[in-house]
Symmetry: C2
Subunit: 302 residues, 2 copies
């Protein structure tokens, strides 16, 4: 029997929040439905942030209300306790909270020290445990920070240790700016898997430097079996407008399938979801494998 | 001290032979000079094939005559004994010969059985040894063949064994159609490295399915320290006109540098070489990291 690897499509959140065009909740639901049709087992459906700060995520509750029940594991990003309250009031049962591994990033992002961010994280995890809500604790800039450069892996492991101690269900190691390479990924994920168990970890990569799937392959070597990815490689990049964002779901799904894993994803329908997102954002999206995938569909060999 | 990984730029050969525009020898020399300026330690400068069969490679002897002596290790592809004689007459001291791992591919490509192709290979290697010419014996379609599908790795190992027994200096495991994945690459390269020694092997990947650098990273795990790549990702694809070709030199060089290896390559000058090749072929070239690289150059941070 093939081993399962779970892809969590973060396109409706990490992808869309970096697009110039703001999509209405009904449009975001259309994208989510295309992902469900392709068999995505996990989807990050939105973010409960201030619509003033992130207009693209306005109406997250409306998106949640429209989700087909039980079709996938849905999660939502929450920046703080207020976001947690809004998300759970909307019916979200899995939340992602974020603390950066770098002090500067936490200050720039949420105007807090790492310690204050972790205290907020602890407060939310405690509430979530009482509420029966699952928590994904994301460590942003786990490899490199745009302000501080390379991150000491002991800092990352320390944060993960604290998050688990507080009761987090899963820790997401996130290469927020797409700066990691396979050697660094293997080093950190091996240590984290040894200490916490690979089944409690997932990874989040961007394809900014073209190493997205190489980093997925490196983390697979450490036993990681859950990855964030974004349909069509959707998502901006803090460095270069128009540059590739998250590693593309189709690139990861294609590679995993070839490597002998099962993902539950239908590649033909996944390319249809790429078409949906391209139409919605108003420009062509697609990962590094998209031309090859389209050609196979034309030939009927996928 | 950092460990050296050698990139052999095959753009002037594998890249250009798949372009619609045919470049004159002087233009190909301009590309080679840009690669030398960027510090490429090895370059495949052309192919001694019939100009009727491959017009893009006409005038290979003229290219060889114009090469700056000693600036890099130069090699040329030869399809047969006649090509060997032409190449060595032109002054080439390192030749690459190709046998496919699949019977059908050999029949389609050179109208010969694998056994006949190997006999030709043996004849050339024997001559080369007498002449003091180094031989790179390439096993094409080492992972998958467009006609026969997945290739039995014992067939590949057997061919490599024969090539070394005949006296080949190096065996190149080539994923000719860009179909390999990191798991398959690791399996085959581990076995080959165990039997023949990693220092006598190199790998040749295409980025057709977006797994080019992931496959390089997988082969690095087996100890392989030499890779073919192509400036700007130059090169066609038998599946999709306009699709990516060889894994891009800039993608591989960037990843290797980040992973702690030394390549001798200057990334700023490498991007200048991407500009040269883009101008020469008449359309923008560039690997998956090119936008990020250009942005770093603008910011002066590369």
């Amino acid at each position: 029997m093939k081993e399962l690897v779970t892809i969590n499509d973060v396109g409706p959140r990490d992808g869309l929040q970096n697009q110039s065009r703001t999509l209405a909740p009904a449009e975001r639901l259309r994208l989510i439905e295309a992902l469900l049709a392709a068999g995505l087992p996990a989807i990050e459906v939105g973010s409960f942030v201030s619509p003033k700060a992130v207009p693209a995520m306005a109406g997250a509750a409306e998106v949640v209300a429209g989700l087909p029940v039980g079709a996938a594991v849905y999660s939502a990003l929450i920046p703080n306790r207020k976001g947690y309250d809004l998300a759970t009031a909307a019916g979200v049962t899995q939340v992602e909270l974020v603390v950066a591994a770098s002090q500067t990033m936490n200050r720039e992002n949420i105007n807090a020290t790492t310690e204050a961010a972790m205290a907020g994280c602890e407060d939310i995890v405690t509430a979530a445990q009482a509420d029966g809500v699952k928590t994904l604790a994301c460590i942003a800039t786990a490899w490199e920070c745009p302000f501080e450069g390379v991150i000491d892996q002991d800092v990352v492991l320390g944060l993960a240790r604290d998050m688990f101690a507080h009761g987090a269900d899963e820790v997401v190691l996130a290469d927020t700016i797409g700066a990691a390479d396979p050697a660094g990924v293997k080093r950190l994920t091996q240590l984290a898997a040894q200490e916490f168990g690979a089944d409690r970890l997932s990874c989040h990569f961007h394809d900014t430097r073209g190493m997205g799937v190489a980093n997925v392959a490196a983390a697979l070597e450490s036993g990681i079996r859950k990855f964030d990815a974004s349909i069509g490689g959707l998502g901006g990049c803090p460095f270069a407008p128009g540059a590739t964002g998250n590693v593309a779901t189709e690139d990861v799904a294609l590679m995993l399938g070839q490597m002998g894993f099962t993902t539950g994803i239908d590649l033909v329908k996944l390319v249809a979801a790429v078409d949906v997102v391209s139409e919605l954002v108003g420009h062509p999206q697609g990962g590094n494998s998209i031309r090859w995938l389209r050609r196979q569909i034309e030939k009927g060999t996928l």
